[in-house]
Structures are given as structure tokens and as C-alpha cells.
């Protein structure tokens, strides 16, 4: 997975407590992690300290970074200073691994985004060792 260095970001960042921290640290190393339960095989995202299906302790699985758009919105008005660069696209992405992930969709004219379009994950750092996942057209 491509990693983009972006230490200029002034907006809100993930706190990365608990299991979240492993997810964001792996992203900064170019790995997109989801959780898979060693007991029942259930896959989940966001990361937690429990399998939501069977209650066991989940493990990690590296996803391919492929996805398709499940739904999206184009944000055209938002007063938060960090998000003044309007419009921008936010989307729910279906991963072939069986989980759904929320994120920003960049590198595309907001007017031509479509549900079902294939996308690829990339990571954008927000400090030296952590990154958030974004998506762009495949």
C-alpha cells in the first residue's frame, strides 16, 4: 500500500488508544490491517479487544487494499476550519475480505463518483509513525 507523507495536517487526528494504535501504526508502514478471529474466523473492522461474533480475542489479517464503493457523500458545506477545502468525498468501502471501511475518497472529480466503482487504499501519515487510510480510483 502506498504511503503518502503528510505532516502538514492540522485537523483532528485519531487518538490511537488500544488496538486502534496498531491499526494506524501498520498503515504508516504500508499495511492495511483488519481483524480476524482465530477461533471462529469472523472478520471485523474497527479493531477491538473482542471478537463481536464469538467473544474470543481477535488476531490481525493484512488486507489487499482493494475495495468498491458501497455508498458515498460529497460534503459541500462544513464549518470546521480543517475541512475548508470543499467539496470532498467520503465513502463507505466494501473490502473483498468481508468488512466495510469508512474513509476519504480522493483523486477523483466528486461529480463522477459512483457506487460500485473499484478503489484502492493508500495511507496518509499524520505523525511520524501513524497514518490514516484513504482511497483513490483503482
Amino acid at each position: 500500500m502506498r504511503v503518502v507523507r503528510n505532516l502538514e495536517w492540522q485537523g483532528p487526528v485519531p487518538a490511537g488508544e488500544g488496538e486502534y494504535g496498531e491499526f494506524f501504526a501498520a498503515a504508516a508502514e504500508g499495511r492495511l490491517l483488519i481483524q480476524q478471529c482465530p477461533e471462529c474466523g469472523h472478520r471485523q473492522h474497527y479493531p477491538r479487544a473482542i471478537c463481536t461474533a464469538c467473544g474470543a480475542e481477535p488476531g490481525w489479517l493484512e488486507a489487499t487494499g482493494a475495495g468498491t464503493v458501497y455508498t458515498y457523500t460529497v460534503v459541500r458545506q462544513y464549518g470546521a476550519p480543517a475541512f475548508a477545502d470543499l467539496p470532498y468525498v467520503l465513502a463507505m468501502i466494501d473490502l473483498p475480505e468481508g468488512v466495510r471501511m469508512f474513509g476519504g475518497l480522493t483523486g477523483i472529480d466528486p461529480e463522477i463518483v459512483e457506487i460500485g466503482m473499484p478503489v484502492t487504499a493508500y495511507a496518509r501519515t499524520y505523525d511520524d509513525t501513524h497514518a490514516m487510510i484513504f482511497w483513490e480510483p483503482a
Binding site: R76, A82, F83, M132
Partner: protein, 392 residues
């Protein structure tokens, strides 16, 4: 044996939609005073208190602080906070407590000075003003700049994709609610609007326009609930709680299992089953209209129409004054008031309709009312069925 069947015997609204003379705690108190006066119960008879956790202890309007402020030495307390639908959950809990004898008479209150204190920042104004790290599951969404409206827009877009729903069909919901707002002298906005007005209003987060979104106001409300037996001696004809059920499919929007199906599909049939009624029996519905899409998903989940048929259902005019299911007859959150959380107003308007006190918005011969609240991001949903007549 005296009947412990739970009823709503008193209702009260504080001042809305713009009330700079009241803070949140005073909204609670004013609504409570009016609800107590409405039913004429002795305040000392109140032995249960229910509210949300409010803005937390620092704000002074959490349940325990409010119980002290209002002077309720409760035998039963509930501070359930699941967002806007909290009050439908409260009725579920209070009804069970009354039936079980944990207490006899419960006061439920809500109050918010949101518009006066914060302006209209909740929807689009930059909730997140600085770069404070975001904890919990919100950290998977907030750092991307997800506004409240955007969360609901994700559901609306998916509904359009799966079922061919149009912006015009969503707009019809806002137009119908505005028509009722025109009959409510206190509603925030009362001038009639058209479908064109809605679809030509500013796009906030595709596909939701400004007029697909609820208003932001001040306001408060209160209910007094008691047993059928105690209510016999009170001023108002009681309204019976016939069914109440709630469910939660997710909390954060990014965890919604299916963006076109909400928990109303679970708690709606459960509440109607308790009451022994079907959607066709309901005379008026008060549906949490945070956004037009919220109402459409609720109509489908509750079974007023089939899944994916919400668009054609609303186009047929059922929700309008004189329609088969007059909805949000006080002008709703879309046009009348939405002080942060709106669930209590759904219940108060239901009671007004069943008492025959809804003025020009009165649904003729209303005997069964349904209130469905949505809390969080289409997350925690609860349905309450209220009836004018004693259950057999």
C-alpha cells in the same frame, strides 16, 4: 386489584423555538411545571424520575442533578442516553417500572438551550473545532471531516442506488411536514414550501439539501406517567401505553450493517405486537425527522410500506394532512423544533392527538398513535404505541 396499567397523564412543553431567556435546566423545569399543572397531580406524588445523561454533570442537566434540582426523591431513576430516541426508551423503561410496582408516578423531562448557546453549529458548523485527538470508534470517521448531515447522506445515497429513490420523493416528506408546521403558531418555520424549494435549496452533503435537514432550536418537554388507577383522579383523560420496544443495530454510522434498513424493522413490529395492532390500524405517526431520509427508512422499517417503496409511498400523500397516516402533525423537527434531541416531542404530540387537543392539525377520531425515535446515526431506535382507549 387496582390497575397498574401505565398511562401518560400529563404533558408539558417549555418555550420554543427561540428561548434566550432559558438555559437547559430551566427548560427542564418549565416543561415539568407545565406537565404537573396539566394533569394536576401533587408534585409530592412523583416517585420516579427519568431523563438523559444530558450534557454531563458539568452542565448540570444530567439525570441525578436534575432529580435534585426538581426535588424528586425517586424510588426509580433512569438516565438512559441513546441520543434523540432516549425518550421512547424512557417510556419503555418507565412503563415496565410502573407495571412492576418499582414506583407509581414517573416524571420524564428534557431541556436544551442549544440554539441560544451554540447557534446552528451541530449540523454543518464545525463540531470539531480543533485538532484534539479523537478517541473511540469516532476516530475512524471524525478525522476525515464527517459532518452530521454527511452521515445521513450516506444512507440516502445508498437508498437511491438500491431502490431508485429520488430527491423529489425525499423532498415530499419535508413539504408535508411544513404544511403541518403552518398550523402550529410556535413552529420555527411556517411558510409553505414546494418540492422544488427543497431540491433547489443549498446542497449540504449529497444528496441531502438544506431543507432535507431538521431545524436547530431551543426547547424542552416533560411527561408524567402513572398507573391507570391513579390517573382516575387526575384532570386529564389518560393515554395508554400499549406497546414499547427498542433496539440498536450499531452506534457509529460506519458500523451500520445495512444502510437502507434501520432498527425500526425490529422494534416496530415488536411494539405493535405488544399492542395487538398492525401498521394499518395506526391513525397518526410521529416519526423522528432529523432528516428526510430518517423518515423514509422508518416508514419502511415500521411496515407502513414495503422495503424500498418509501419513495412511492410518500408521493401518494399518505403523510399529509388528510392522508392515511398524518405524520409529524406538530411540524416535526424539519420545520417546528429540534433542540438537540427530539424524542420527547414525538410523545407529547401523540398525546395531544389522542386527547383531541391538536387544534387545526387534529387527526379526526385518532385512537392509536405511533411514535418512533431515532438516536445516534440511525442507530438506537425505539417505537411506542399509545392508545386513547383502555386495552382489553
Amino acid at each position: 386489584m387496582p390497575s397498574r396499567h401505565p398511562v401518560i397523564c400529563g404533558i408539558g412543553l417549555s418555550d420554543y423555538p427561540v428561548a434566550p431567556h432559558l438555559n437547559s435546566v430551566q427548560h427542564h423545569a418549565l416543561a415539568a411545571r407545565r406537565a404537573i399543572a396539566d394533569c394536576g397531580i401533587a408534585k409530592s406524588a412523583i416517585d420516579g424520575y427519568v431523563s438523559t445523561s444530558g450534557g454531563g454533570p458539568a452542565a448540570g442537566d444530567d439525570a441525578v442533578s436534575m432529580a435534585e434540582y426538581l426535588g424528586v426523591n425517586h424510588r426509580y431513576i433512569d438516565g438512559t442516553m441513546v441520543g434523540g430516541s432516549s425518550f421512547e426508551f424512557h417510556v419503555q423503561h418507565a412503563a415496565a417500572a410502573i407495571r412492576e410496582g418499582l414506583c407509581d408516578t414517573v416524571l420524564v423531562t428534557y431541556g436544551s438551550d442549544q440554539l441560544t448557546r451554540m447557534g446552528r453549529v451541530l449540523g454543518t458548523g464545525g463540531f470539531q473545532r480543533d485538532a484534539q485527538p479523537v478517541t473511540g470508534a469516532m476516530q475512524m470517521a471524525t478525522p476525515y471531516g464527517l459532518p452530521l448531515v454527511g452521515a445521513y447522506a450516506l444512507a440516502a445515497r445508498r437508498h437511491m442506488h438500491e431502490f431508485g429513490t429520488t430527491s423529489e420523493q425525499l423532498a415530499e416528506i419535508a413539504v408535508g411536514v411544513r404544511e403541518f408546521a403552518g398550523l402550529n403558531p410556535d413552529a420555527r418555520y411556517r411558510d409553505p414550501i414546494t418540492v422544488d424549494d427543497v431540491v433547489n435549496s443549498r446542497m449540504i452533503a449529497d444528496p441531502l439539501h438544506k431543507l432535507d435537514c431538521c431545524v436547530i432550536t431551543d426547547g424542552g418537554g416533560a411527561l408524567v406517567m402513572t398507573t391507570e388507577e391513579i390517573a382516575k383522579d387526575l384532570r386529564q383523560t389518560p393515554v395508554y401505553v400499549l406497546g414499547a420496544a427498542g433496539t440498536q443495530t450499531h452506534w457509529n454510522i460506519h458500523q451500520m450493517p445495512d444502510f437502507t434498513e434501520m432498527g425500526a424493522a425490529v422494534c416496530g413490529p415488536e411494539a405493535m405486537g405488544q399492542a395487538g395492532v398492525t401498521p394499518g390500524d395506526i391513525d397518526t405517526a410521529q416519526l423522528y425527522d432529523s432528516f428526510t431520509i430518517t423518515v423514509m427508512l422508518m416508514l419502511e422499517g415500521l411496515g407502513f410500506c414495503g422495503r424500498g417503496e418509501g419513495g412511492s409511498y410518500v408521493e401518494e400523500g399518505h403523510l399529509r394532512r388528510g392522508g392515511s397516516m398524518p405524520t409529524n402533525t406538530d411540524g416535526g423537527g424539519l420545520s417546528s423544533n429540534h433542540p438537540g434531541m427530539r424524542g420527547i416531542f414525538l410523545l407529547i404530540e401523540s398525546v395531544r392527538q389522542l386527547r383531541g387537543d391538536a387544534g387545526e392539525a387534529q387527526v379526526p377520531d385518532a385512537e392509536l398513535a405511533l411514535a418512533c425515535g431515532s438516536g445516534g446515526w440511525l442507530s438506537a431506535i425505539a417505537t411506542v404505541i399509545l392508545g386513547k382507549n383502555r386495552p382489553s
